[in-house]
Amino acid sequence: MAENPSDLVVETYKLTKIYQNRQIALNDVTLRIEPGCVLGLLGPNGAGKTTFLRLVLGLHRPTAGWVKVFGKKMTPNAADVRRRIGYIPTNPQFPRGMSPIGYLDYMARLFGLPADVRKPRLASLIRAVDLLAVSGDPIAGFSNGMTARLAVATSLINEPELLIWDEPTHGLDPEARRSMLELIKTLGREKTLVVSSHNLGDIDEVCNHAAVLSRGQLIYCGSLQDLKGRMRRNHYELELEGDQKAIGKAAQAIKGFSEFKSVNVRQRRLELRMSDEAANTSALANVFMTLSDNKVTVVSIRSVGQQTEQAFLDLVEKEESRGFARAYQSGEAA
């Protein structure tokens, strides 16, 4: 935990962005990102994820509040701070006539890297992202996967301490997506990452922290484990195998247990909900005993409430259902 605020990688305070007095894109966002954190930025379309990232990069100026990156206030002219950041926008665009070598050289020069530093580095990166064979070809003919790899190389050319990747797996085929996630995991061991994504499975796999934005408000910021744990705890789904009558009989018996708030059977799926405080191990032990007594086999067991996607959806739903109460209890939300 960073004790000194200057040790934080990113710190925002009451960050608000209103576009031309017409659209509130971000509202009162206060968060801190510590070194080594791999933060997944979640939120539905229009939640303010890209606006948040653009404010952190200094591409936009806050209407109110501030952003500090590496302890320094981020402004459009804070080139020194941006030299420590690697960024991939949602749909990275490249000058179509340029080759990967020319483009990476241009980007490295934008970071002020002298030739003896940038030339070996760009060569290593082109090799690392497997673009060696096409390093002299125009980018215009590149596939989505190739441009994504070039974007990765671009974001690493300055050896940044903070990586900000906006939808890095967007538009990638499964193989390229898998490679990207593996790369994020590798980079996450030595760098601080902020990854925005619609794909909650990706966030679940590579991030250790999450921030959830909904309609411009930060409704959650903390560890991914907490996010998964705090929503719908003790909610399980069992897939069963056995006689349908036996399953029904077992379900009836389980309904009699006091630990369970609801027990539903849908064909061969048994959905169990306990109260948050209930001791799940002993209750589940009783369930397995009952199933065993009725000669029902368990094919799989899934903790529904522990899924990031469910937790995220619950959070957004809960936030929206608060209605006007948000105006008075905004402090509790995050």
Partner: protein, 257 residues
């Protein structure tokens, strides 16, 4: 949470981002269709005008002085070029707004450096091209025409026009940094420049105006010029360029991209 080890950062050259954008913009400008159209139209227009004058000489025996001919050439190439120079300068920043500018401005370059690099690159492209064309025209006229041209007068005339074009280019880049769309920027710039040009003609005679300077080109080319008045015009143009650029720089450094 594991805290990553501090990274040893490579040394940086502070003005390298400026040079990178400057060179990229210069290359991009000289390859753009607006630039190529400008050069082509200017060269063809000049050649056509010379043929017309030669035709008149052969058919009617009318001889036009070199100073008048070059003055006409410069005057019409300036008037004709303004619209294309406006298009060239007026879209330099606004046309790159969005993801393209993102990929540059999210790196280690300040808005000041980006604006200055764009401004200087467009100035170099426009002014050096105009100077090159002007020098070729002058050299040709010294060699082939019955000369009443003065070398110093010719250089002063070229320098005066270059000062005016510098102010026009600066206005273009500034409007481009302020406007949200290229078309809007070019329209505003066009109205602004032609409006300002007209307004300046209404000033009393002792004040220098672009129109008067262009009207006096034949005498300037013959070597009769008021260096003090032209110096004042150049000074005012430079001052106006500087102030306009400051406005553009200040605005661009604060705006959302």
């Amino acid at each position: 949470m594991d805290t990553p080890a501090p990274v040893k950062r490579a040394r940086v050259r502070r003005w390298l981002p400026y040079w990178a954008v400057f060179q990229a913009d210069l290359r991009q400008t000289t390859r753009s269709w607006v630039y190529l159209v400008w050069v082509l139209v200017s060269v063809l227009g000049a050649a056509g005008y010379l043929l017309y004058r030669v035709g008149i000489y052969h058919e009617a025996g009318m001889v036009q002085s070199a100073s008048q001919l070059i003055s006409d050439l410069l005057r019409w190439s300036v008037v004709g070029s303004i619209t294309l120079i406006i298009a060239l300068a007026g879209g330099c920043i606004s046309s790159e707004r969005g993801t393209m500018a993102d990929s540059v401005l999210s790196r280690g370059i300040s808005r000041y450096q980006y604006f200055l690099a764009k401004w200087h690159a467009r100035m170099v492209a426009v002014l050096s091209t105009f100077l090159a064309m002007g020098v070729v025209a002058l050299a040709g006229s010294f060699m082939f025409l019955h000369g009443d041209l003065s070398l110093t007068g010719s250089l002063v005339a070229l320098a005066t026009i270059v000062t005016l074009l510098a102010a026009v280019t600066t206005c273009g880049v500034t409007v481009s940094a302020i406007a949200n769309s290229t078309m809007l920027g070019i329209t505003v710039l066009w109205v602004l420049l032609y409006g300002a040009g007209f307004a300046l003609t209404l000033l009393p005679a002792q004040y220098p105006s672009p129109d008067r300077v262009l009207n006096n080109l034949p005498t300037t080319l013959r070597g009769f010029y008021d260096l003090h008045a032209l110096g004042r015009l150049a000074g005012w143009s430079a001052l106006a360029s500087g102030l306009i650029a400051m406005v553009g720089l200040g605005y661009f450094a604060r705006r959302d991209i």
